[in-house]
Symmetry: C2
Subunit: 145 residues, 2 copies
């Protein structure tokens, strides 16, 4: 790809200056899609940790409701970039979610969806505590391979 880029930069394809930004942008998009670490700051993203403690006798029900909620959100909401949920092995009543939304608007849209409201209503008596922690990602655009 570097060779093609050099050809473009040096004008060897003879296509004129207008072609360079067009193809350059295409190559950049291609490179970003193929890389596990995108090269542009994801400055509009909302990145948050949610920490939950669930009542012990509600853990299995909570997991089912959470799984349905996050899988639906990932499938139907383009602006929900991840809802990566983990359960602690040593303390199975404790859950942490890494939530990444493309923008504040994507987050606001998410919390009005039927699947989120179903999850929220269905689990309200299962959740002993919920802590929402706003964060800044160290490497914006970091992905999961």
């Amino acid at each position: 790809m570097k060779g093609l880029r050099n050809m473009l930069l040096s004008g060897h394809l003879g296509c004129g200056r207008w072609l360079l930004p067009v193809l350059g942008t295409g190559l950049l998009v291609l490179a970003m899609q193929q890389s596990a670490v995108a090269q542009v700051p994801a400055s509009t993203q909302v990145v948050r940790l949610a920490k939950l403690e669930i009542y012990p006798n509600q853990v299995e029900g909570y997991k089912a409701a959470l799984r349905e909620g996050v899988e639906t959100a990932m499938r139907v909401e383009p602006g929900v970039l991840t809802l990566y949920a983990v359960q602690e092995k040593a303390n199975p009543t404790r859950f942490t979610l890494l939530e990444i939304y493309a923008s504040p608007a994507a987050y606001q849209g998410h919390i009005q969806t039927p699947h989120f409201l179903k999850y929220k209503t269905g689990t309200k008596d299962m959740v002993k505590s919920l802590e929402l922690i706003d964060t800044v990602p160290l490497v914006p655009g970091m992905r999961i391979k």
Copy 2:
């Protein structure tokens, strides 16, 4: 793709039974690569949270060292699936990493790499506390779009 799969299943391509599992596997791999949620359990994965508190006057130095460490690991270690690090907005001395390794062997390899040892040695006087929390992912194979 569903159309192609139906053609294969019904034998309309007339290629015999041997072709179905071969092409089926190829389509499955393709689908997994293109999906934000892989459809097979990632049972060998090691999924962990690391929680760190950094001394206040060391936060910027720590961020630089951590950034170099995670970017290098993501670039050169196929078995490091993510090292997604966040800094809390309200408590900027607190960091959390979601660490996903493809297998226990990938994790053992990671902690012997030059870049990990450089990070670990270079930051040992910056870290006030470190807590490592073994977890189980709710949706194995969940990705970041």
